[in-house]
């Protein structure tokens, strides 16, 4: 049971990283990135291949996942500079599907639909299955806290203020003298890098990745997490991610209690329960659990 809880907390924390990534780009800059699962996959594959085929240390894999994720983000954002809103969403969704198809078909590189197994975890062999989860979770939490701190720094800075202005009206932001493209490209690349890192941390935890683990459903989940937590607030994104994973897992136990339904019906009921719960959250708290707040103006020179 304890191991199961550790497992859930670990997956929740990885979703937390993804939620922080999405919150930066969607909540902070107003760009709809439906390709989150693609950047997640790019990072997972980059790190897995570095450490298995490439025989490099795990840390090198993580750093490379950051770099490759960020570079992929930069390519996507710079090739869509003329697109906005719905069109950007469509292109990013397409990007994620392309990543999945490449992973399925470029067998020489990615081992196709068989996936990559035997991805090393830090001290996995020495610790054994029992203790590995207990050691991995703290490592993950340190990374998560670091990223969270980074997001809070950006949020409270003039940089974050300019991003928000771009979210509200990019043209007026430009008239205010902000180089909109630079801000968008940087934020998108940083967000993609974080998603890539999340992918690497996922692969080294489960030791196995395959193309069908990176379906668009993950992106949808993370959008739900950020929306229910509060768009534009890093704390909200984290809370939303843990709430989502708690719902996903508790729904599984809850449907077990319902008598006289088949396994297929049970699975459908589970999805229904999750949907109802999320609708309730957004119905009761339309801005999410921890909504974005307008920072108060600092008092200057003792005068109000």
């Amino acid at each position: 049971m304890l191991n199961y809880l550790l497992f859930i907390a670990t997956i929740g924390s990885i979703y937390g990283l993804l939620a922080l990534s999405l919150n930066l780009i969607w909540g902070g800059t107003g760009m709809v990135n439906l390709g989150l699962a693609g950047f997640f996959a790019v990072g997972a594959y980059a790190s897995a291949l570095t450490t298995t085929t490439g025989h490099m240390p795990i840390l090198a894999g993580w750093v490379l996942a950051l770099i490759v994720g960020g570079a992929a983000g930069l390519v996507v954002v710079l090739s869509t500079t003329r697109l906005r809103e719905d069109y950007l969403a469509i292109v990013t969704l397409g990007f994620a599907e392309v990543v999945r198809l490449v992973a399925s078909n470029e067998i020489w590189l990615t081992r196709g639909t068989d996936g990559i197994s035997g991805i090393p975890g830090p001290w996995r062999v020495a610790l054994g299955r029992e203790y590995f989860n207990a050691v991995y979770l703290p490592i993950l939490l340190v990374v998560l806290l670091l990223v969270y701190w980074l997001m809070r720094r950006i949020d409270g800075s003039p940089y974050g203020r300019a991003l928000r202005a771009i979210r509200e009206d990019a043209q007026v932001a430009q008239v205010a003298g902000k180089p909109v493209l630079r801000f968008k490209a940087q934020a998108f690349a940083l967000s993609a890098a974080i998603a890539g890192l999340a992918g690497a941390l996922y692969g080294h935890f489960t030791s196995y990745i395959a193309p069908d683990l990176f379906l668009p459903l993950i992106t949808v989940y993370i959008f739900l997490a950020v929306a229910s937590g509060g768009v534009g607030s890093p704390a909200g994104a984290l809370v939303g991610a843990y709430l989502l994973i708690a719902l996903l897992e508790s729904a599984r136990f809850f449907v077990e209690l319902i008598p006289a339904v088949t396994a297929v019906q049970r699975a459908a009921l589970k999805e229904l329960l999750i949907a109802v719960a999320l609708i309730l959250v957004l119905r009761l708290m339309p801005k999410g659990l921890l909504p974005e707040r307008i920072p108060r103006a600092p008092l200057v020179g003792g005068k109000p």
């Binding site: 928000r164 509200e168 008239v175 003298g177």
Partner: protein, 254 residues
């Protein structure tokens, strides 16, 4: 000294010539009025000068430098800021955040300095915060400083636009109908506040339909009609000009 020199500026939309060779000079200092009937091309001129719409032909020299074809943010950083006819801003940002955004040279707007929080970034932020408070008090928006822009009335939004221009401290500000849809009391207040801009070294070029407002504030007044400059002079001389009456009322009525 001429601050803005526009020569033979042209722009057509779908074959319709909106700017048909505009020649205009705005002298540094003071408030210049730009009037003309609807469809004369005034707002399009602002859009082209501020870089939002590229011109088809012609030149725009600002402060001795050619700026036609520059991106809007580059024009803004060169010292030329504009406002919009329908007040546009950032709905969910506060009055304070609006003012801060228009501050120039912010080291904290680079990603690296934002994360590290360098001394230079903190110092500049504190300087700007002080100026933002001063500006808010000057416009009597200080009580509303933490309110989001959506919570402001139309007139307050117009005041905030003036505040944004003050924070940017540009050489030239283009105001598109600063009192459109504002009640007469607040209109007077906006006029009073506008007089402060030239005192701070900000030259103003403004579009306005309220002739009383123009008469009070603007000298000279430039008249546009059908995509060209018709005439220029003091308000009284322009009002006496029969061509101006024709442009507003049609040839036969005049």
């Amino acid at each position: 000294m001429s601050l803005l020199q526009i020569a033979n500026l042209r722009r057509a939309f779908y074959g319709l010539e909106v700017l048909r060779g505009v020649d205009m000079t705005v002298q540094a200092g003071g408030i210049t009025g730009l009037i003309g009937p609807n469809g004369a091309g005034k707002t399009t001129l602002f859009n082209v000068v501020s870089g939002l719409v590229p011109p088809d032909a012609g030149s725009i020299r600002f402060d001795g430098r050619e700026i036609s074809g520059l991106a809007p943010d580059a024009v803004s950083r060169a010292g030329l800021v504009r406002t919009f006819q329908v007040a546009r801003g950032f709905p969910k940002l506060s009055v304070f955040q609006h003012l801060m955004l228009y501050g120039r040279d912010q080291p904290g707007e680079t990603l690296w300095q934002a994360i590290v929080g360098t001394r230079a970034a903190r110092q500049r932020e504190a300087e700007l915060a002080e100026r933002a408070w001063e500006t808010a008090r000057f416009l009597r928006l200080d009580e509303l400083i933490d309110n989001p822009a959506t919570a402001l009335s139309g007139g307050q939004k117009k005041l905030l636009e003036i505040g944004r221009a003050l924070m940017a401290a540009p050489r030239l500000v283009l105001l598109d109908e600063p009192t459109a849809g504002v009640n007469p009391t607040l209109q007077n207040e906006i006029g009073e506040r506008l007089l402060e801009l030239p005192k701070r070294g900000i030259t103003v070029l403004l579009i306005e339909h309220d002739m009383g407002f123009i008469a009070q504030l603007c000298n000279p007044v430039i008249v546009m009609a059908e995509g060209q400059v018709l005439t220029e002079g003091t308000f009284d001389s322009v009002r006496a000009d029969h061509r101006v009456r024709e442009a507003y009322l049609g040839r036969r009525a005049a």
